[in-house]
Amino acid sequence: MAFIRTILVIFSTFAFYCTPALAAVGDDPLGSPMWTELRDRYLGNNAKVVFDSRVKVTGPKVAEDSMNVPVGIRIEGLDDIKRVLVIADLNPIIKVLEFSPRGATPALHFRMKLQQGSPVRALVQTGDGLWHAGGIWIDASGGGCTAPSVGRSAPDWTSTLGQVQAKVWETPQQSRVKLNIMHPMDTGLAPGIPAFYIERLSLQDETGREWMLLETFEPVSENPVFSFDFPGRTPPGLRLVGRDSGGNRIDAKVGQEVAQ
């Protein structure tokens, strides 16, 4: 078991009685110097947080490619999940993405950029307001967020922008949809290249019902790859609908192919 279960419930007032550094070391299994500040910033001053081994984050110990670090989030045995925040404490842009599984399995696999070694955390809010935290350290040689995207230098990037490739693996018991979206996902941190990234993605069935809602930010890798899981077969007529920070719209059918 990676973490000691349910260590503490932290109230905002608690932070006033001990220095942030001490609190970080004492409370955070990952020992991050940023933890208390980020907790207050992203979860609010009065947020109740428990470190919870049911929130599983997987990834490499050392990132081979800082521009494409594969990360998996899987939440097992937690009910009534409202939203899941993914943050990387020591990235120049900390918030990576946020998702709400609305019928899809509470899990997500994706690739992200890491500027340096950092904790990568999933913060899960349940219906009772409580936050459940899980995370890992991923070491990285650096530079993932401040390098220009490959797409930036491709003269024809507009002709592929927003194209979606999808593959579906399906059995009656469970299914997986893997997506690749063409997008430069520029962070705005490379000199002279403004931020340009996908902001929002939604998986919807033929009736318009939303099965998964995803808000994404600059640290998600260029030409993002996402894997979504469903209990049972994929919902009929599954579509990926979304937009980027420039108002470009993404709309693609993703649920038609049946493999295996």
Partner: protein
Amino acid sequence: MKRTLTSVLVASAMLTLAAAPAMAVTDKEIEMDAKTPGDVLSWGIGTQGQRYSPLAKVNTSTIKDLVPVWSFSFGGEKMRGQESQPVIYKGKMFVTGSYSRLFALDAKTGKKLWQYEHRLPDGIMPCCDVVNRGAALYGNLVIFATLDAQLVALDQDSGKVVWKEKIDEYSAGYSASAAPIIAKGMLLTGVSGGEFGVLGRVEARDPMTGKLIWVRPTVEGHMGTKNGQDNGITGTTNATWPGDMWKSGGAATWLGGSYDPETGLAYFGTGNPAPWNSHTRPGDNLYSCSTVAIDVTTGKIVWHFQGTPHDGWDYDGVNEFVTYKTKDGKHLGGKADRNGFFYVLDAKTGKFQRGFPFVKKITWATGLDSNGRPIYDPANRPGDPAKSADGKKGTSVFAVPSFLGGKNQMPMAYSQDTGLFYVPANEWGMDIHNEPTTYKKGAAYLGAGFTIKTIDDSYIGALRAIDPATGKIVWEIKNNAPLWGGVLATKGNLVFWGTPEGFLKAADAKTGKEVWSFQTGTGIVAPPVTWEQDGEQYIGVASGWGGAVPLWGGDVAKKVSFMNQGGSMWVFKLHKSK
């Protein structure tokens, strides 16, 4: 499985963070813009385009105390021509920059609130620098056009993109640089790309969603639409264009338009017919080089006036049509055309009242007839290449004005106090010849070669006060380099204008005596604005040398090549001792 993304509207409901809009610009406010000095809501300071302010705190006696309040750098490496007129609402200034950027600033302090940088493809084809001329305000949105021919609407408070619409394919030569205007709750826009044989047009959209309402092509033969249905062909097919030439006929509406709520008409100027080689397209080539008056309710052309029928010199008629009332109650409009003539027309009917040169020398025409039609000098139209010995190059002629015009994109002002127009004019000519050419999508479609020449070593530019009733030049202030910024007139008996040499200047509106100047550090090619905030009058202008002159200026280079680029917003007010 692949789906290509298209840029379309995104319902505001999709914005999770959309708060209740704290600001909301209304149609009424836009119609009253010229009379409400606390804001600047439209390009033209009022959609009529008079660029006249009733503010008088800064006047001929107080102007000696006019000093800078703040300056804001547009930053980056993108220091190219800054032709933008800012808009100001409830203490926020929205100013566009080169390369399709938009900045939201605190109008009083210059503090940056947010900035938007449009993601541009490499293949954009703007003819005349990577400029933008300004944004429109409506509701809680600020809306501007981009060099890849898109319209982007952002939330005034957050800077988030609310909707984006594509006007047309940038790869076919389309671009957009003009400021949109609002008329009767619709967003009106034009297109750029006359050098690529695009189809000129005026489009009306729902400003809150970007949804297209009507399209009115400005070349005869093309079908207009309204709410997705056919809405009548523009003109009569092949009446003034031979064969298929109208299909790539140009007439780009690249400087946008003006709108007079009293007539319900939007006035859009149209550019050159394509290609430049006029021998390939005998006829008047309607509605190129014209002002078209469009009933914004129907999306149909009510009247037109063509300054240069069968243009052979690239005398775009895009120049703004500024409506005004005479002392005896006539409702007229004035236009200083690129071809060197100033036209006065009836605002409602387009009936020609009078026309006269506003530049000292015109060679392509010897004058105007009683209907305002030019009397050509055939010797000064570039020769037909088909009649040359090898068929490759027609006779070269020296024509005045040059194709950069007696006046270009820089908007003039009209003072309600003096009844004069203040026109930034230029005196220059060109050697021009024609060559054979054929239309190819996305390729330059000119069929001409040219070199711009000076005609007077002592000056090119001249700010001229012109009486539209008599055609008399009441006064002028000469400028060594060509003028490329616009003009502002105020009740303080002042006119403000900028020069490529970097000075923002002010002159007595009645006498033409220069009373103030300030060096902004780089050339000014943008129109100044003024507004009032907390009881004080502010003057603002974007500064940043560029535009068409350094790209196409030919022999003019000797007057401008030493100028340095930049990119900033300057704001001034009267100094107060504490």
